[in-house]
Subunit: 109 residues, 2 copies
DNA sequence: CTACTATATGTCATTATTGACATCGTAGCA
DNA sequence: TGCTACGATGTCAATAATGACATATAGTAG
């Protein structure tokens, strides 16, 4: 457990407990989920740093508040594309996104 | 054989000449295209380094040769998700993908 | 309490992505 | 020459992602 930057994730629809180690979750899939979670966290941090609501970001993205909420929850129905688009709309550069992507996810080293 | 690293890109469907600077291509969209192109290049390099054909990769991805060709051509109908999945299937780690994503495209400064 | 704001979650019609297929060009080889 | 493998590109039915909507919960004022 940790709390430095919090890791309380639910990852809706994918049912990940401690990242991977779940029946039917191939290592490749675990990697993909991990990246999505990293991006979704980066999105939330950026949005909050920007001081805007989910609704406000949704407007910029021509999307809806509910979808932004799902994005930040790393819902299985949101694509990496959408997360990246959201980050870019919040001013993230490819470099910023790369940094978020590669972030280590606490789990086993 | 091949000629190692090249940049002869067409970017089907998006009609990018020198990355951005094209009417109707917003800076955010240019950023997205740039990232897709970077990923598609990384995919081709990885596949060739692995010494397998597009068909062989397609099989691993449960996709088709034609789609892999489009992936490597950064076709507008291929998602970042698909490119990332392809890279992961070729053994790329989130870190590898992050490196490819942030790569500078050299173009105009 | 009510009212308002922000966020979460389920559903669904519309839209975008995908795999599969056909076809074409090229290169190597016998 | 034909034959084979590899790759590129167009099309399209099937599938997946998306935006919009309804609704729910929690916090904060008044």
């Amino acid at each position: 457990m940790e709390k430095s930057k919090q890791k309380r994730l639910k990852v809706r629809g994918w049912h990940v407990g401690s990242t991977s180690s779940f029946l039917g979750l191939r290592p490749e899939e675990a990697t993909l989920v991990e990246m999505k979670v990293n991006l979704s966290q980066a999105l939330r941090v950026r949005r909050e740093d920007a001081g805007i609501s989910q609704s406000a970001l949704a407007k910029r993205l021509r999307s809806s508040q509910s979808r932004v909420a799902k994005m930040e929850a790393a819902d299985r129905t949101v694509s990496i594309d959408l997360l990246v688009r959201g980050l870019v709309m919040l001013g993230a550069t490819p470099r910023d996104i790369a940094r978020a992507l590669g972030r280590e996810t606490g789990a086993a080293a």
